[in-house]
């Protein structure tokens, strides 16, 4: 699975793993995100925070014809305004993907898979 871009010199293939890595890095820098989660939490162990190399499990890239969509599975910090944190991830991901990969994402969908309570 990859995204293929064509230009006058030939084609550029960007694998989903690369997109997942870029998107995941951008997401975990967002304030209020304590980690990436797996899409299949039951199968992969409950509410486990994904490590860098497994971001692809929590970032799903779907291409439908000319468009492409990204689903992101995250764990947020308790006590933050979750809708706002999710919105920040959406806007940052749109921006980073456009800036680094030159692609426009048709939709960025956030799935909040867990809330992490931290006792200071």
């Amino acid at each position: 699975m990859s995204i293929e871009l064509k230009n006058e010199h030939g084609t550029i293939d960007i694998t989903n793993d690369v997109i997942a890595q870029v998107v995941g890095e951008a997401a975990i820098e967002c304030y209020g995100i304590v980690g990436m989660a797996s899409q299949h939490q039951i199968r992969d162990g409950l509410t486990e925070i994904l490590r860098k190399e497994n971001f692809a499990r929590g970032v799903i890239v779907r291409s439908e014809g000319e468009e492409f969509h990204i689903d992101i599975y995250v764990i947020v910090s308790y006590g933050t305004k979750i809708t706002e944190v999710a919105y920040q991830v959406q806007s940052k991901v749109q921006y980073i993907v456009r800036k680094t990969l030159g692609l426009t994402v048709s939709s960025v969908n956030i799935f909040v898979q867990g809330v992490r309570v931290t006792n200071v």
Binding site: Y31, V34, G79, K81, E84, S91, K92, V120
Partner: protein, 551 residues
């Protein structure tokens, strides 16, 4: 005032909110991180206004309950990254004082610190050089100097002073700020809030608007922001960056009185990224337009033109994009270091390229001492260190070094270079030393290491007869084959190590092996095992023509 109650706190909040509101536009103009969309000031202002409204509604003598209302209002109205962070800062702050009817200087400082701890806990990768850093530095200064403060106003003076100093330092921590020539927008917003608190305690009025920073800074920000919005030079709609100054001419002003708002309105129809700054004598203008001539002609209605500069942005665009790439490199932080041992400069480079902070020269015949390891670590000046000996004969020395050192240190007992490579790849800069040592050890245990070297005398080991000057293949520390031909031994060794599950074979060839010879081995493996990927590196190591790993 040596302590404040809820009603006084509510007044502080009101003043902080008002001061931020007054300067929201300026905060917007600084916004280049995390996304340069110029809304930080707007968002923070909305969040803070919501907090202030809720505070006003529930203001009472009891400060714990008043602060709780403030925290709730911030949370409900949180907008944008900076708004969410602001709500976290005061969530922790109010939690710490929830039972107090009034707070002292000491309690205020400690609550601020607790708020910062709360805010830091809510993010996986805190980015320094942002509002978080400013809040942290200010709170630390408050706690450190709370004994010196006469009263709360004195404490707030310390807080404001450190917040401003910390804000000045943000460009050193976040490269994108330095490049654009601005300080962090969220941090600036927080400074306004604290300044408002202080003014309230001192009973002073604040200036309605701060003087805007220099035109140059604004232009820089504006350029950066507009560049970000284009992927291609062709997409630029307004192609000429036009800057000029109008020296206002009193004669001309008789039939054409100067009004900044009208001036701005008229020019805005010619393009975008418009900036107009004026005083009684001059007007500075910056605009991106397709008709630079029209902009200049318009300016001439009010006076004479000076310092004109017109640039074609379609030509510059690619340069700026290149510069952006360069600034993405993060400054080196030596908080966490990985110190490892290897022989051969190629291996040293390889180790460094994937994250080793320092590589100590070592090897089979010249093992580094405890002292060598300690020295290498001290030179880096890290706070936490992981030591990878990459050789079982060095593990002891490494363990001793870890004990001698006065910083947090742990040894990952890697027995070979490939194990070291695997361990470094598993490093997580966010995790504790202990956790890293554990996960890195696991990662290094999951790979198989093979080495090819030559015999120095006739012998028989592990049931294999060996002649002097023959080559020996060693898999996982056990000698598996021996023969006069290097190629045969290497092929046999690799074949014996690969099974169905394996995916990657890494070959590091030594100083006595030519690239062609190594390519030959690589081609052979590819032919025999089509399910593995091969990575070939020139390690330039002595004594071992080949070091291999299979995983």
């Amino acid at each position: 005032m040596t302590s404040i109650n809820g009603l006084q706190f509510a007044k502080m909040v009101e003043m902080g909110s008002h001061h931020l509101h007054q300067n929201a536009d300026y905060v917007d103009s600084l916004n280049v991180f995390p996304v340069p969309d110029g809304d930080t000031g707007t968002n923070m202002n909305l969040s803070m206004t919501s907090g202030a409204k809720e505070t006003e509604r529930h203001a009472q003598e009891h400060i714990g309950l008043t602060a709780q209302a403030f925290s709730k209002g911030l949370l409900m109205g949180a907008r944008g990254n900076s708004g969410v962070i602001l709500s976290q800062l005061f969530r922790g702050f109010s939690k710490q004082i929830e039972k107090e009817s009034e707070v002292s200087v000491r309690q205020f400082a400690e609550a601020l610190k607790y708020g910062v701890d709360t805010a830091y806990k809510a993010v996986m990768k805190p980015v320094e050089g942002t509002i978080l850093t400013v809040a942290k530095d200010a709170a630390n200064a408050a706690v450190q100097h709370m004994g010196d403060a006469q009263d709360l106003a004195g404490l707030l003076e310390i807080i404001v002073e450190e917040a401003k100093a910390s804000l000045k330092r943000t460009p050193d921590l976040l490269p994108v700020l330095k490049e654009v020539g601005v300080v962090d927008s969220g941090g600036q917003g927080l400074v306004y809030v604290y300044e408002g608190f202080l003014a309230c305690l001192k009973g002073e009025d604040l200036p309605e608007k701060v003087t805007v920073q220099s035109m140059e800074d604004l232009v820089n920000t504006e350029h950066h922001r507009s560049v970000q919005s284009f992927m291609n030079s062709e997409d630029i709609v307004f192609g000429y960056c036009t800057e000029f100054m109008v020296k206002l001419d009193s004669k001309k002003l008789l039939d054409q009185p100067f009004d900044e708002a009208i001036f701005r309105q008229d020019l805005s129809e010619l393009g975008d990224s418009l900036l107009v700054i004026s005083d009684d004598e001059v007007v500075k203008v910056h605009i991106h337009t397709e008709e630079p001539g029209d902009a200049l002609t318009y300016g001439q209605k009010y006076g004479s033109l000076t310092k004109m500069k017109i640039e074609n942005m379609r030509e510059q665009h690619s340069d700026i994009m290149d510069r952006d790439e360069a600034s993405a490199v993060k400054p080196v932080q030596h908080k966490y270091a990985i110190v490892t041992v290897s022989m051969g400069e190629g291996i040293a480079e390889l180790l460094k390229s994937i994250g080793a902070s320092a590589v100590i020269e070592g090897g089979q015949t010249m093992n580094p001492s405890t002292e060598d390891i300690v020295k290498a670590i001290q030179e880096i000046g890290a706070e936490k260190v992981l030591i990878l000996p990459n050789n079982k004969n060095i593990i002891m020395a490494a363990e001793q070094a870890a004990e001698v050192l006065e910083i947090e240190a742990a040894v990952v007992p890697t027995k070979s270079v490939p194990e070291g490579l695997a361990a470094i790849l598993a490093f997580n800069p966010e995790a504790t030393v202990e956790k890293n040592a554990q996960s890195m050890k696991q990662a290094s245990a999951s790979i198989k290491t093979g080495q090819v070297t030559y015999a120095v005398r006739d012998t028989s080991i592990d049931g294999v007869t060996i002649h002097k000057d023959d080559f020996m293949g060693i898999a996982e520390g056990k000698i598996t084959s021996s023969a006069p031909s290097l190629e045969d031994v290497t092929k046999r060794l690799v074949s014996s190590m690969i099974d169905e599950e394996d995916e990657i074979v890494t070959i590091i060839y030594g100083e006595d092996v030519s690239a062609e010879e190594a390519e030959k081995i690589s081609a052979y493996i590819e032919e025999q095992f089509d399910h593995v990927d091969i990575e070939l590196y020139a390690g330039k190591q002595p004594l071992y023509p080949y070091i291999l790993s299979v995983e």
